[in-house]
Amino acid sequence: MTASPWAGKAGALRPGTAAAATAGVTPFAVGLLLAAALQYAVGPAVGPFFSDLLIKIGINVILAVSLNVVNGYTGQFSIGHAGFMAVGGYAAGALTYYTSMLAWGGPQVQGGVFGVGSALFVGACLVGGLVAAAAGWAVGLPSLRLRGDYLAIVTLGFGEIVRVLLQQTQDVPFTADEARALSPVEMATHLGGSLGFSGIPFYTNLFWVWCFVTLTLLVAYRLKESTFGRAFLSIRENEIAAEAMGVDTTRYKVRAFVIAAFFAGVAGALFAHKIGTTLNPRELGFMKSFDIVIMVVLGGMGSISGATIAAVLLTVLPEALRGAADYRMIVYALMLVLVMIVRPQGLFGIREIWELPPFARRRGR
């Protein structure tokens, strides 16, 4: 046994901030190129149906990989991810809708993929993420102090509260004049109620979705390989021992929760601006949260590649089973039971696909 295979690995565990920043550049550039290829080559080639599927896949990958930071890395059990998606989606949707109304007199898309409208949209995605992150902090701080299952209950309640509150909102104004008559506070209470928020401009496309997928995957990966990731995973492995090793468990749990909420908010924003979406509180309720939880459990709690692959599978599967939509939950349940019997740790467990045989040997692990 030599220590050499570890020399590089140990270095990768605690990258300096500068190293961490530059190490992300190349993969991010690759991700951007892929996103551009999807937008300009793949999308036109496969047509609108499959483009839409690729967008849905991207959004679900963001949701699953981000929930994995909480449920997988830190071993907490959040079942309200769709609640953060809703918060981000409504915040971003309202921002672009009302800004478009006030600035351009209507909710039409302005400019091309890199036009002024897209700038507003990307800004709105980030704002949606930040608002969701703030909600995550408010929910996480009190509930993550406690050990055990409080988080599941609190996040479940949070998702329901968000749904009910959104259902109480007023109709969205249809004309620029009606929109101008509202104060900003009133705008926040005119989000379409239980009928849904329609008219949000359709800015979401393959390029922007897969840019954010790249960002999510990169952040998730850098997190896992950093000191942060070590802290997250040690909490999941043994919270008391982690605390005894000097990990401030509450702080790290809250951090994981806030990061996850941010990306759920971004996913919600992308969803809100997707062609054909009418943002509806019911659609972003418990069932959606449950879908995301299944992706994480199926992929292996803690595995980024596992969550990604599970998200792809579980987005394609319902489309394939479209004729049997009523049986979707039965198929899900059976699949979960099967995985729990055959591989209780999920498809990949805590590890990544390249860390498992037969890939592992080539990388010396």
Binding site: A10, T227, E237, I240, A244, M245, G246, V247
Partner: protein, 244 residues
């Protein structure tokens, strides 16, 4: 924090109380661990030994009394802050991170340290001390035997270079030979300068390696003094050294 000369108290408990809800687990314990010593805390099941260690490392909150470390009151600090002060806790039942490799476990032990070279050197020290850990370096810790896990847990606690090591039943469930090894290592760690507060069921072994001893019973100290004296005391013999 000031340095403590050998023989002076590194850690003092003054009238420590701990409650778990309505349960009064520690009812006013006072003891003092001197720099460079091994003090062993013995007593029957449920006496409050583990609770005492948890209170020191802030895993549970003391409900009364004072915990002085290097002369400063440290109750009220968080667990991670206490680790940062140089107090490492090797919890009961080992508590390794099962899905982490042996090496990753050791790295988490050095969580608060930033000196990568020092960490590597200390991992090397651990591997030299317990060669079996080197062989298992890339194996998930959950697949180690009980004795190997205990060796890992002790090594992991040492990774933060503690001045004071809290060891909770390191011999629990181990074969006699392995127990011998563990105790030899405990002595060696102490000789290398680490003060140790050792909780043990195996009073016989504990009284052999320790300098001082304290006997706990339902949350209070019932006897204390030099370990050799306690080992000779009829009462302790009868109650804890297999006199029944």
């Amino acid at each position: 924090m000031s340095l403590v000369a050998p023989g002076h108290p590194l850690l003092e408990l003054q009238d420590l109380h701990v409650h778990y809800g309505a349960i009064h687990a520690i009812k006013g314990i006072s003891l003092s661990v001197r720099q460079g010593e091994i003090l062993t805390l013995i007593g029957s099941n449920g006496a409050g030994k583990s609770t005492t260690l948890r209170a020191i490392s802030a895993l549970v909150r003391a409900s009364g009394g004072r915990i002085l470390y290097r002369g400063h009151a440290i109750q009220g600090y968080r667990a991670d802050q206490v680790v940062g002060m140089g107090i490492a806790h090797c919890p009961e039942g080992r508590g390794v991170f099962p899905a982490f490799t042996v090496r990753e476990n050791l790295e988490v032990g050095a969580f608060l340290r930033k000196d990568r070279e020092g960490i590597e050197a200390d991992i090397e020290t651990a591997f030299t001390r317990f060669p079996v850990l080197r062989q298992r370096a890339r194996q998930p810790a959950g697949t180690l035997s009980g004795g190997e896990q205990q060796m890992l847990a002790i090594s992991r606690a040492l990774m933060c270079r503690p001045a004071l090591l809290l060891l909770d039943e390191p011999s629990l469930g181990l074969a006699p030979q392995v127990v011998q090894t563990i105790f030899a290592i405990i002595r060696e760690i102490n000789r290398a300068g680490t003060t140790i507060l050792l909780v043990e069921q195996n009073a016989h072994m504990a009284l052999q390696v320790a300098h001082q001893a304290c006997v706990l019973d339902v949350g209070t100290v019932v006897a204390s003094g030099p370990a050799a004296d306690l080992a000779r005391s009829d009462e302790v013999k009868k109650a804890y050294l297999g006199g029944h």
